[in-house]
Amino acid sequence: MAFTRKHIGHGIGLRTTHFPEMLAAPPPTDWVEAISENFMSAGGRPLAVLEKVRREVPVVLHGVSLSIGSTDPLSEGYLGALAALAARIEPAWISDHLAWGSHGGRYAHDLWPLPHTEEAVRHVVGRVRRVQDRLGRQILLENPSSYVSFRASEMPEWQFLSEVARRADCGILLDVNNVHVSARNHGFDPIDYLDGIPADRVGQLHLAGHSDRGRYLLDTHDDEVPAAVWDLYRETLARVGPVSTLVEWDDHVPPLGRLVQESERARDVEADARRLRRTEAA
């Protein structure tokens, strides 16, 4: 079992506020990440924009409602819609979150954390395999930001993520901001997290901003990437090597040029990391 990483460069999220510019010219970025659920409709403007963008750059589908950790049955309707969208868009890859957000047929539309238990590992692994079989491809799972640690947990989050990825034979979408946010909220060392995950399964990175609420950090994606997250990005690249990286900016979305500027900064940081690795290897 192995995971093959594809490096497609530096991307940005496809957001409605940028639709006019996306329709007027090719996207000024290597690739675009689209929230899967926003494009599962039969038609309309969003899907037309996505299809136009896809003709010009690679697209990655990133879901928020797979609810892979839920004890509810997997939604066949959802998987069918995702498979249909994937057939239409031919994404570079498909990702979602190592989280859950539905219970008893009710959807919270949130990314709730799981207890880090062997039972949860087995539960998620079985479901990831079914999803991968249904989609005919490996998926990537993202580490969510979190504000609670369950009393039932038996292992740290990075071990939980690693066990799921290895046993399900899927990739990891490592959200560097989420590692930083959760480290602060739970009091662990983010370097332990980076050292504890299988580098060869990290297929994509997320960078984002967050809000400092005093006693905790809130994962808000509403601002530029802060210095502490850039530092952790450098630490990540030093361990996993160059990885396709996306800057998430979902609230108070800036003009497209500003978002691209933030993504280009990630490209510069990665170039520095490549030079550093070459120097160390020489």
Partner: protein, 260 residues
């Protein structure tokens, strides 16, 4: 605690509003800086906020009319009555008009109609594109005209209202003071032209004709509501022509051939 038990309790705490210290403490770890109850409360706050935000995206005029605080209160009450049951958060608001109809605000009994109009506009925005048929694509043999049935594009809705929803929407769009609610049973057609969503109030006979046509009735019955007019034939022709010109009609199915 098993995974299923953990999720049942966490779901109840995060969606139920009030978080009990005892239940939260059984489930998650407290730290000196942040108690278990507060930690679960972060999720409870985000749950409500996210659903209200989703409604605000689909019902911008209703939100503008009510104001942020009242709209949030409405959204939270609606979420308690109709928790989301679909993976797409964009479907969450589909029961809001019905919810408002059951619990009308005494001073604004027209909110349900405004919500119904806004929801139809949202649905039409995301409908599949089907190329409308032009006049040239609708040539019918005169002998088969009355038995023919129209096929409509998916991006079309007929909304039945009890108050003047279209004038209220227009005032809110223009930033003008909303007109007082006025009982005015009627119908509004909602459709899409390119990426633009449009709507228009219909006369009662045209609304009845469109309702009949959408139900798949033959043109003989579709045209019947115009029979009460002195210029019934001309009115029916004008209505059908406008449906074609506005891109509502995808095609026409000929009626069964009569035996020779």
């Amino acid at each position: 605690m098993t995974l299923a038990e953990t999720q049942a309790l966490f779901h109840a705490l995060a969606t139920g509003g009030a978080v009990s210290a005892g239940d939260a403490g059984r489930l998650v770890v407290s730290t000196p800086g942040l108690e278990a109850e507060e930690r679960v409360g972060i999720y409870a706050g985000m749950y409500a906020a996210r659903l209200v935000d989703a409604l605000a995206a689909d019902f911008p005029k209703l939100r503008g009319l009510l104001g942020e605080t009242s709209f949030a209160g409405l959204g939270e009450a609606y979420a308690r009555a109709h928790p989301s049951d679909h993976p797409d958060i964009g479907r969450f608001g589909r029961h809001l008009a019905g919810f408002l109809r059951l619990l009308p605000a005494p001073d604004r009994p027209d909110l349900a109609d405004l919500a119904a109009l806004e929801w139809a506009r949202s649905e039409v925005f995301f409908e599949a594109h089907v190329e409308p048929a032009g006049r040239e694509g609708l040539a019918l043999e005169p002998a088969g005209f009355l038995a023919a049935r129209l096929r409509f594009v998916p991006a079309l809705r007929l909304v039945r209202v009890h108050h003047g929803a279209a004038p209220l929407w227009r005032a809110l769009e223009a930033g003008e003071p909303p007109p007082p609610p006025a009982a005015a049973p009627g119908a509004v057609a909602v459709w899409r032209n390119g990426f633009d969503v449009l709507h228009a109030a219909l006369e009662p006979d045209e609304a009845a004709a469109l309702e009949s046509a959408l139900a798949g009735e033959p043109l003989e019955r579709v045209c019947a509501p115009f029979g009460g007019r002195a210029d019934g034939a001309e009115a029916a022709f004008a209505a059908l022509s406008s449906w074609v010109d506005d891109g509502w009609i995808a095609g026409v199915e000929p009626g069964p051939r009569s035996a020779a």
